[in-house]
């Protein structure tokens, strides 16, 4: 799973005024790390409009709908300490996903396990240390 999440894709001090801004930030990070091409960002926004990617515990998992524009399986973890209004839910952590295959599924399952444990979920929402997030997720 390590190659799917790189330390440089973990950003813990983000801010965004809206859900759209937050998703765009996730997309930009995926572009920066070479996982997706620019048009993927628009696909992420479109996907969000069709069904919310909020999963619970203050976490959303924005992603595009197709493999088009995806170079490799990768995720990014962005933390918005100020919170974002996500269609009525308060989101603090966004896990942006770029997927060509099933490489990210095990990591998502691991993320869900963490979030099912209230203490670990809280630790992730309050994380300020990239190494700690990496250790928790990989």
């Amino acid at each position: 799973m390590r190659e799917v999440l790189q330390a440089r894709a973990v950003r813990l001090g983000e801010s965004a005024a809206t859900r759209e801004e937050a998703i765009t930030r996730c997309g930009q990070v995926l572009v920066e790390i070479g996982a997706v091409a620019q048009p993927y960002v628009a696909a992420m926004l479109e996907r969000e409009r069709s069904v919310s990617t909020y999963v619970g515990e203050g976490v959303a998992i924005p992603h595009g709908t197709s493999k088009e524009h995806v170079t490799r399986d990768a995720i990014c973890v962005l933390r918005f300490p100020g919170g974002i209004d996500w269609d009525g839910e308060n989101v603090v952590v966004c896990v942006g996903i770029a997927a060509r295959g099933d490489g990210h599924v095990a990591l998502l399952a691991e993320l869900a396990e963490i979030l099912l444990d209230p203490e670990r979920a809280r630790a992730l929402r309050e994380a300020t240390d990239v190494d700690a997030v990496m250790k928790e997720l990989t």
């Binding site: 069904v51 990617t53 999963v55 998992i61 996903i97 099933d102 399952a109 869900a112």
Partner: protein
């Protein structure tokens, strides 16, 4: 006790959008249904995080279970039918 095992048909497996549609349907049915993979832990079909934690990909065999009786059977039947469809291909 009623059980049904079905292979996940959605291209992207049972997460993201297919998981959301599955969980929404389970919530709508309002009958307690549990989901597991093989002999793994059971999670409520109404829990998005629970369903995500299964890590089911396309082709993974998922077992649904509910208390016996017409309501349980109907719920398991409906959710099994949903899993057997490619939910990435449908609208909504």
């Amino acid at each position: 006790m009623v059980e049904r095992t079905v292979a996940v048909a959605s291209r992207t497996g049972l997460h993201a959008r297919p998981a959301k549609l599955f969980v929404q349907e389970a919530q709508r049915l309002g009958v307690p249904v549990k989901v597991r993979v093989g002999s793994g832990k059971e999670v409520p079909a109404t829990s998005m995080l629970g369903v995500l934690s299964l890590g089911a990909v396309r082709g993974t065999e998922v077992t649904l279970s509910a208390a016996g009786g017409p309501e349980g059977e109907a719920a398991v039947e409906a959710l099994a039918a949903l899993l057997a469809r490619d939910l990435d291909a449908s609208d909504g």
